[in-house]
Symmetry: C2
Subunit: 125 residues, 2 copies
DNA sequence: TATAATGTATTAGATAGAGTAATACAACGA
DNA sequence: TCGTTGTATTACTCTATCTAATACATTATA
């Protein structure tokens, strides 16, 4: 999996790494049980510090997305716990994005289409 | 319009103010041409510094949402320029939110419903 | 047994952004 | 003239981010 860092973004590097891995899992690009690059390998590849990658992995571990092990390194968890609800923070963010899009003249259908695209195949479909 | 600041949030205060005003405009709570509180009044009311509010207003002005005038203070712009598209940043954010929701077991329909709710009545409906 | 690789902890420092604070200025109405 | 408006300026504190250099425990492998 290719991880790209936007140097101009105000989103912290470790957060960008974390986000892209989460999206990779959701997309199916990263499968359950799959091993992630080692912190050293990823840090070397991206030209950043080891601890920056470690922070991303720690957060992912704390959130239940991955497991870390000195034996196998970092792997995607087999069964990610399902809260079943959207966090208040994400709800507020979603409302902000929808509001900005609406004021920019983006049709509602375009937003719905994007959500469909990003969500992908639903197991309930 | 009531603006609430989440002290625990890692979103900067001036950004929270900016976001809530944008959402207020989209919701119709703030109408075109309506006058916003003065920077001093809002700063006093919220117990924050004048310049923090000024930063929020400057950003809103730069983005085309409001107009500032020494005569009338800050007002919502009559005609907000419509780009017609969603910014790359917001697209990435939207994908992140959708991915997290999906992995949390939130059904696609729930997300679509939220977007509908936040968007409100579409002029094209 | 020795070596290498794993995630992690520790400590320190540099840098930038956020927020506060105190003033001051120009523009405009009353 | 006086008050209010947004804004500019300057300085300071505080925090988060990121880098840097090590070190440690654990485990597979030669």
């Amino acid at each position: 999996m290719i991880i790209r860092i936007d140097e101009l973004s105000d989103v912290p590097i470790y957060q960008q790494i974390r986000n892209q891995i989460v999206m990779g899992i959701s997309d199916g690009e990263l499968k359950a049980g799959e091993q992630l690059p080692t912190v050293r390998a990823l840090a070397l590849e991206m030209g950043i510090n080891t601890m920056t990658v470690s922070k991303a992995y720690q957060q992912l571990k704390m959130e239940g997305y991955i497991m870390t092990d000195r034996k196998f390194g970092a792997r995607v968890r087999m069964e990610i716990e399902k809260q079943g609800s959207i966090s208040d923070t994400n709800k507020t963010e979603l409302k902000r994005i929808v509001s900005e899009a609406r004021l920019s003249g983006v049709p509602k259908q375009e937003l719905l289409r994007l959500v469909e695209e990003y969500y992908g195949k639903d197991s309930q479909d």
